[in-house]
C-alpha cells in the first residue's frame, strides 16, 4: 500500500444517518478486488487497468455520499457503467487485439495454493466465454464479494435476476473446470 493507503480514513459524517462521503484514502483498499472484477469483465490486462483508473477518476470527480459499508457496491456500479461506455466505444472501432499479455496470478491467504492456483486461471478464462450479464453477476458476487442484495442494486437488476444469472455463470465455469481437470 502506498502513501495513499497510509492516510487515515477521512470519513465525513454529513447527514448523521450513516451516510458519508467515499474517502479517497479508502480507494486503494479496494484496488485488488476492483482490478480482478475489471479483468473478469473485459478479459484484458491493459483494458482492466484503464477501466479501474477511469472508475477511480469518475469517483473522484463526482464525490457522493454513500451508506456505510457500501463502498464496494458503489465502486461496482461505477465500474460496470464505465465498462459499458468502454464497450460501446470499442464496438465503434475495429478490434486491434495484440499478442497475449503476461498476467501474474495470485492466490490469497486462506486459499489452498495447490488446489486453487490452477483453477483460478481456468475460471477467469472460462468467464470470458460468458455473456456480459452473466459476467457482471459473477464479477459482482464471487470476485468482488458483494452480497446478493448489494450486487443486485449495483447492477440495477432484481435480486432474483441476479441469482438466476449467477447460477448460470457458476454452472458454466464449474463445467469448464471439470472439463479442464
Amino acid at each position: 500500500m502506498g502513501t495513499v493507503g497510509r492516510v487515515a480514513e477521512r470519513a465525513t459524517h454529513a447527514t448523521g444517518l450513516g451516510s458519508r462521503r467515499l474517502s479517497v484514502a479508502r480507494l486503494p483498499d479496494h484496488t485488488d478486488r476492483l482490478f480482478r472484477a475489471a479483468y473478469a469483465l473485459c478479459g484484458s490486462r491493459a483494458d482492466a487497468e484503464d477501466l479501474v483508473q477511469e472508475t477511480f477518476a469518475r469517483v473522484l470527480e463526482r464525490p457522493r455520499f454513500i451508506r456505510r459499508g457500501s463502498d464496494l457496491a458503489y465502486l461496482m456500479r461505477v465500474l460496470r457503467n464505465t465498462w459499458v461506455d468502454f464497450h460501446r466505444a470499442r464496438n465503434a472501432r475495429p478490434d486491434t487485439s495484440g499478442p497475449p499479455e503476461a498476467i501474474d496470478w495470485v492466490v490469497d491467504r486462506g486459499g489452498d495454493p495447490g488446489d486453487v492456483a490452477l483453477d483460478v486461471q481456468m475460471a477467469y478464462d472460462a468467464m470470458h466465454d460468458l455473456s456480459p450479464p452473466l459476467r457482471e453477476a459473477i464479477a459482482a458476487v464471487d470476485v468482488l464479494g458483494l452480497s446478493y442484495r448489494d450486487a443486485a442494486k449495483a447492477l440495477r437488476i432484481r435480486q432474483g435476476t441476479l441469482m438466476s444469472r449467477l447460477s448460470r455463470a457458476r454452472e458454466r465455469i464449474a463445467a469448464a473446470l471439470e472439463g479442464g481437470s
Partner: protein, 225 residues
Amino acid sequence: MSEHAIPEHHRRAVEALRHGGPATPDGLRRRLQELEPRAPELRRARMRGVPRLLAPAAGVAALLVVALVVVLSLGGPAGPSAVQAAELAGLPSTEPAPGKDTGNPTLLDRRLEDVAFPDWSKKFGWRAVGARTDRLDGRRAETVFYTHEGHRIGYTVISGKPLDPPERAETVRRNGVEIHRYQDGDRTVVMFERGGLTCILAGHVLSQHTPLKLVAWKGDGAVRF
C-alpha cells in the same frame, strides 16, 4: 455466501474466484496514486459539462468565448503549458489501440494533422494499448498509450504553435532530434517537435535513455520530424 448455500458442484468455481485472481500491476497502483492529488482538478473538469437544457445558452456563450479568444490571441500567444500537456499521458485511455498503418509497418493508423504515431512494437516491444482525444485550452491533443513489461507511457501530440519546454528541462540531441527532458516526480517527460507540432512522451520507465531512444527513432524515414 451465508445468505444462500452454494451447491456442491459450484463450490470449486466459487472457491477459485474468491481466493485468487490476476495480480494488480504495480504500474496501475502508481497511476492511481497520482490520481489522488488531482481530485480537485477532476472535479473542476466535471463542472465544465453543461446540462442539455442550457445548450442554446451555451452555444451563445461559446461564440462569445471564441470571439474573446480571437481578440486575446492578437495580443500574444496563449496555450497550455508543457506540464499540463504532459498530464494527459497519465490519464486512462478511452479508445482502443490504433491498428497498424497498412501502408507503412512502422506507423500506427492514427495521426494528428501530418504527425502519425509510431509503431514501436516490432523494434522495441512497446505495444499500443489505447488512445484518447482531449482539448487543452482549445487545442486538440491526441494521445496513444504504449506498454512494455508492465511499464506504460503516453505519447501526446498537441495541435497549434509549439509549446515552450519548462525551464527545468535539459536539452539533448539524439539522431538529429532536439529533445527536452525533465523529471516530474518519478515520471520521465520528454518534449520534441514533429511537423511543427509539440509531441510529449511521459511515463514510468526503468531507464531514462528509453524515451530518448524511442522518440529519436525514425522508422526508416517514415516517422517524420
